[in-house]
Symmetry: C2
Subunit: 677 residues, 2 copies
Amino acid sequence: MSEQDALVVFTPSGRRGRFPVGTPLLQAARALGVDIDSVCGGRGLCGRCQVTVCEGEFSKHGISSRADSLSPVAENEQAYIRRRGELKPGRRLSCSSQLQGNCVIDVPPESQVHRQIVRKRAEVFDIELDPMIRLYYVEVQQPDMHLPTSDLRRLKEALDFEWRLENLWSDIRVVQEIQAALRTGDWKVTAAIYDDQRIIAVWPGFQSRIYGMAVDVGSTTIAAHLCNLQSGEVVASAGRMNPQIRYGEDLMSRVSYVMMNPGGNEDMTREVRQAINDLALDLATEAGIALTEIIEATFVGNPIMHHLLLGVNPIELGGAPFALATGDSVSGLQATELDLFIHPNARVYVLPCIAGHVGADTAAIILSETPYLTEELTLLVDVGTNAEIVLGNRERVLACSSPTGPAFEGAQISCGQRAANGAIERVRIDPDTLEPRFKVIGSDLWSNEPGFDAVVQKTGVTGICGSGIIEVMAELYLAGIITQDGIIDGSLAARSERIVADGRTWSYVLDQSDDRTLSITQNDVRAIQLAKAALYAGIRLLMDKLGVDSVERIGLAGAFGSHIDVKYAMVLGMIPDCPLENVKSVGNAASTGARIALLNKKARLEIEDQVQQVEKIETAVEPRFQEHFINAMAIPHKTDGFPHLRGRFTLPEPRFIERDDGSEGGGRRRRRRRRVA
Amino acid sequence: MSEQDALVVFTPSGRRGRFPVGTPLLQAARALGVDIDSVCGGRGLCGRCQVTVCEGEFSKHGISSRADSLSPVAENEQAYIRRRGELKPGRRLSCSSQLQGNCVIDVPPESQVHRQIVRKRAEVFDIELDPMIRLYYVEVQQPDMHLPTSDLRRLKEALDFEWRLENLWSDIRVVQEIQAALRTGDWKVTAAIYDDQRIIAVWPGFQSRIYGMAVDVGSTTIAAHLCNLQSGEVVASAGRMNPQIRYGEDLMSRVSYVMMNPGGNEDMTREVRQAINDLALDLATEAGIALTEIIEATFVGNPIMHHLLLGVNPIELGGAPFALATGDSVSGLQATELDLFIHPNARVYVLPCIAGHVGADTAAIILSETPYLTEELTLLVDVGTNAEIVLGNRERVLACSSPTGPAFEGAQISCGQRAANGAIERVRIDPDTLEPRFKVIGSDLWSNEPGFDAVVQKTGVTGICGSGIIEVMAELYLAGIITQDGIIDGSLAARSERIVADGRTWSYVLDQSDDRTLSITQNDVRAIQLAKAALYAGIRLLMDKLGVDSVERIGLAGAFGSHIDVKYAMVLGMIPDCPLENVKSVGNAASTGARIALLNKKARLEIEDQVQQVEKIETAVEPRFQEHFINAMAIPHKTDGFPHLRGRFTLPEPRFIERDDGSEGGGRRRRRRRRVA
């Protein structure tokens, strides 16, 4: 190092050093350990090593930095520009620029190997891009009769020499294709390397892009995101119905199908795999890429979807003791082993399951929301036919599943329906007049606003979707129409025509037209009470285990969590008391977890490790579950105080009404209560 | 350890120790590091841990050993005997016998884990049984709702607890089958573990046998042996024609077929794999086992067969620089990846190739014959369409291939044919009368013995096979009918009617009937000269590289080597001079090498390592090859002295005859030689 050497400072890392004039900038960066990406190994092909020369006086560094501190634009930079278009102003390819004098060089985020994929929500960590499969461009020695090594051996030698990738294995399909690739590419090829260990694909010449898909296999829908594994960006998203629905709407009816139809699991396995193939094609089409450019896929799903995807008969999950065939992650599986037709050597990673009722989707939510890294006691709830519940912080994390049944999704509700245009999703009830107003999906107008009828003319008002059911129940309670015990108060029929007799119970008429009536019946209320009591009891059980009476943060996952108004969920007592501003939808966190595992290989080890440490609680064998369940039947709760909620809402005072429908809800015990508070 | 303890001495290892009375013998053996096999983990199921109590006074050990030094025959030994029949006299199951007093216990070879498979030939090492895939019997914990681990996890825990197998991975098909296996087997299963790392199969209950097949894929025939992986014995052998023959008899014509018919390699790949499937069925049928009990297969073959088996287009092997796609061993491949239908999770191992002309079959010969372990300079020759040549000892090993062409196999010879009933395989010619006698395959009589005509009536005398060609050429030379230069001496027509004019050259009539004449023509002699000159020149080239003029041991591999009379091969100058008693057939050493790799996993590493170290010589680029070739055209050789041979045979004095067939053999140079010595 001499005074003749040029001083270079890289930002944002601040790493600095002196190098002889003429040193390629990329080489200087590597010598200093500066994180700059490169696929082509410094040949000016990939354009990933772009940097910006900072121009001006940098007194902090004692450097006057100018554009001509680097060598003039070189031939291969010009060639790159001819192929790919102009670089951004001030940008150079660091592999093709030599140091001419002192300079300050900025490495933009997109040129860093381990760049961050920024997530929208503030409370979660960004994803660090560090994919399992990476591309490496090499020039391979031609064969020589004097030195008869194989083409594969020479490829391995080149990968070792240029990229320090040692002791590589290779897929048999790489062996089958390597000779054509080398000769077509004139001895220049791009290799895809799995985990720095295994050559899984070889393309002639320079291949700049590979993609991965992150798939959330739900019982109702299958959602998938296609990501560029070089940039981390989502380039396409798609969803499809799970075709297994024709074997049963919910999970247990699918397991029953297998019990009644031996071999039926194979049909369901075939159908879900076909749907994933269709989804892959949707994604590739949307992104304008070939299916064979998708070289990896990650999967999450509940245990039954997980087993059916893997070709495992889910029958053991249909009854106690709910034994998983495997809960371990499935790593490095060939996509062809699951009959997936993307790149023929594509790999599959399936996240670990937690227990027989708590699947890889919940593991993915944990990976996305990282309760194990937080100080705050965090509750994560994924509501579906079953609710998966996670509670914990950096000290301990617990998980369980609770059998809510499908009421929250609109099933078992007389006028319930899927979320679709025409479905009621928002409801308000005037506590004085007991008159309702509502919004339907597809319209921004309330039902009492001018123009509403015109807007909904096309779809009609067809039913109530999940979030609408939560709201109508909570509003009925807040308006005093249903009591804390969930009884529709028939005495109010005198005040409002909307309270109508329905056999020995009462109903509330939400909307009426010539050809149909949308009512909330006593049975509907009861169904929601049972579902929310099961959910709350599961949560309460985990709180017991931790010895806490409140939680600090609540995340609601899934489509349901995205549409629900959290305050109504709390009014209804679905979730425990908590400062309302700390209750948020976490979106499709399962899908996000699948995407994190796709983009970051260390995240796979992290979630595998966390899943081992999660304490699994089986609600069915917990003696206190029943007690919690009974207390949680009340709205919002029989015994828990909900101080934060009461700070925001005036909840009706408890009243007790004799119930006349002896058939449900433990009527006898209630009949003794005659007091109306 | 107290004087109350029992003293036990195990033979043949001599290991000894004291253990409390009541200690199970197997446990004592393990504590002392005595090599005793067990699959069932000491449950009296597998019967592999049998030992013999030695009865009598053993003054050497200071022990009086009696049958009642062990506990009486236990219930599970009786159960074993009921299932499997009586034990040999004095035998006990060591897992079920407890020490009662001092004793001497003999561990028979078949009870040792690393037992030796004895080979017939004295000069080679026995095979140590140490297969890649082993069986382990375990009892697995039942699932428990309080501890919701998966079935796979509990299987792994049992394998860890009982067998110290840690960090196991498993195939996806194991995941698919594990639940049924555990429940059918009442939580007792046998697992097949690959390389102590991966669970590849699970059977309900106790499974005692698994098999492997060792396959030599030759261009003409495919030979396979089925071995019991627990005992090492060959339980069935079978061979089939390579169906690729219809695309071309020899290797180069198959490569030409691919050149002319793009995609033709895929047809050949499909056909060879189908033939291997057929062979597997032949083997399983012969051994009375299910195809699914075959859980591993090892393969050897020349580079073109190797590539076609693996699904690699062999076209690059058809021309310089003869680049292999891969020469590395192929390890842990799933049999299904080669469309082989044995056990669905069966694994495949393909031995490494040495160079573009020197394949995995030659590697297998090296593994079988271990020249790299010998002091003696060893020459190994495998004669086929090409000859593969290996020369070396523990210092250095060299290998090359030489283009002999198919003359030695009877092709290009006017009356040549495959070895089959009716083919002449032995020939003698009386040097005085010039009359021949011969033997044909299928008869033990010489043609001049009484009864010969009757015996061969059915097949006729149809042609000459490879070994017969070598003999007739050598005998023609020894009888003085052909000269050192390979000219049939027409002047002898005066002495024998068997020398007949054939255009401008002469032929020797070996046998004549009404409808056909079997003659050796001048062209036949020339074809053999070219072939043997190529072989010898290749050998000589390797000798040059080592700076030697003779070799100490010669092994002739393959079917040709088994039938040839080595002294005639030396008379003809196919092989260099060597003490005749050190020239032997090594049988199908390629097949043996495949079997060694099947039975011993360390042998795989050994041959992979050796192949790296073998010096590959490419005859086509060696300047001296041509010179060696020309000198080797003479019989036995133009310049090399063959002292050992001359010590056993009186070779004719060199004579020179003007040749009249200017069309062949460098006639002009020869015409100058007029001297008859």
